[in-house]
């Protein structure tokens, strides 16, 4: 197996992680088991190594103007310490990536990007910098990241820091937080549909942080959690995964992310194409699907209705919290209505399914 190792690679082996290659990285798909780790995050807490994520800094007088031109969401009005999610599009409305944008100051932003897209995103950003006074620095290799997720995350993290992390609002962050004696940045964000934190630190500090958090969470039932449950957790919450629900061929509007596309903001890359898509109506939409027959839908399987193929599964798997087999699928807009009965073709057999509302899971 070939791939880049995060600074926690030895810890993953120590904790019994089953290593797989993902987006060019060697990471644990699971430790004790996907279903057990999934349940821990929903009911207690789980700790993920997400050091593979990319961190690109944008600084300079035109940092905001540059980003406003680059992404579909509106970043005006953000305050220091605030985070915003946004797709980033090509001219034709297809998606380059989806990002988190952290505002450090009027002239300083951190853009967190998907691991598999770091090089592509950086090149796209550089290509679109002309005319803006801004400097871009890719610090992905100098930044490690942990995600502590689940309802007991605050209780666990509070044991390791004097900062009132409980008071960090959702989609906000505080910098220069000492956690277990190490300098970190802590944000109230995640990719699981649960409460939780993402903790950014120096690569040389991450093993100490991992061990300290695991120790602090012992009585809460904290488990190390792998990529497998990261995917099933985000899937139940219907958070898109780039390469599945979003891609160069799937615009944020088709993905159902219209609330992050501010067509009324001043010009941005892809705006004209997205306006046209909205006016003409989308031919395909990402919809939620419950497989009611016996079988599991998987990415790439055809969706059928009226004897023909009307779409494709983008993500499919059991939804452990629901105890059902669910899917996200890109389907012909004519069939994209909740309650519509369809079929998923599983190994040549049509299995009954129905279009249902998203998300499949919402924390109470």
């Amino acid at each position: 197996m070939q791939g880049k190792k995060t600074p926690l690679f030895a810890s993953h082996q120590k904790y019994g992680g089953k290593i797989v290659e993902f987006g060019g990285w060697l990471l644990p798909v699971q430790y004790s088991g996907i279903i057990e780790e999934h349940a821990a995050v929903r009911t207690k807490a789980g700790l993920f190594d997400v050091s593979h994520m990319g961190e690109i800094w944008v600084e300079g007088r035109d940092a905001l103007a540059f980003l406003q031109n680059l992404v579909t969401n509106d970043l005006a009005g953000m305050k220091n310490g605030q985070i915003r999610y946004s797709p980033m599009c090509y001219e034709d409305g297809g998606t380059v990536d989806d990002l988190l944008i952290y505002r450090y100051g009027e002239t300083c932003y951190l853009v967190v990007v998907n691991a598999a897209n770091i090089d592509k995103d950086r090149e796209w950003m550089i290509k679109n910098m002309a005319g803006f006074e801004a400097v871009l620095t890719d610090k992905s290799d100098e930044t490690a990241q942990l995600a502590l997720q689940g309802p007991l995350s605050t209780a666990i993290l509070s044991k390791l820091t004097g900062e009132a992390v409980a008071d960090i609002a959702f989609y906000h962050f505080i910098d220069d937080v000492a956690v277990a004696g190490k300098k970190t940045m802590v944000s109230r964000t995640g990719y699981t549909g649960e409460d939780g934190y993402e903790i950014y630190c120096a690569p040389e500090d991450v093993t100490h942080l991992w061990e300290s958090i695991m120790e602090a969470g012992r009585e809460e039932g904290l488990l190390p959690a792998g990529l497998g449950c990261r995917d099933t957790l985000r899937f139940e919450s219907c958070l898109p995964l780039y390469g599945h629900e979003l891609s160069a061929g799937i615009s944020p509007l088709a993905a159902g992310l219209g609330r992050f596309v501010k067509l009324d903001k001043a010009s941005f890359i892809g705006r004209e194409a997205l306006v046209r898509q909205k006016e003409a109506g989308l031919p395909l939409k990402v919809m939620g699907v419950e497989v009611t027959g016996r079988g599991i839908a998987r990415a790439g399987y055809p969706i059928k209705a009226d004897g023909r193929v009307i779409g494709t599964v983008t993500t499919g798997s059991p939804a452990p919290t629901l105890g059902k087999n669910m899917a996200l699928a890109l389907v012909d807009a004519a069939y994209a209505e909740i309650g519509r009965e369809i079929a998923v073709e599983v190994r040549g057999k049509e299995i009954a399914a129905v279009i249902v509302a998203k998300p499949f899971y919402k924390r109470s």
């Binding site: 798909v29 088991g33 996907i34 279903i35 497998g228 099933t232 599991i296 798997s317 059991p318």
Partner: protein
Amino acid sequence: MKIPAELLYSKDHEWVKVEDGRAVVGITDFAQDQLGDVVFVEVPEAGAELGVGDGLTTIESVKAVSDVYSPLGGKIAQVNEELGDAPQLINEDPYGKGWIAVLEIADAAELKGLLTAEEYKKFLSEEA
């Protein structure tokens, strides 16, 4: 990793237990561990005739779909219906309650193509 001495093994990580001209077939402890939590087993159809390497069943874990190939040729005499509702038996007891099917062995000479426990153990260590 359990590798019972009395069984035969295929390089596709199936085990075979020979009893009175019949072969009980399942997947090995190594295979179930590699798959992770098994959530779906397509129970094979009794009566079907299979050749060596034909698809016997499909096992799905949370993340993966894996085909199980028949380690021997023959007719499926019996299938483990319990796996339909309790696919996790493959994880919990791969050599016992997690058996998949019983085949009527068509050609006993095919057994020679399988590995002994010792050979399978060596095969695993070379593969790793």
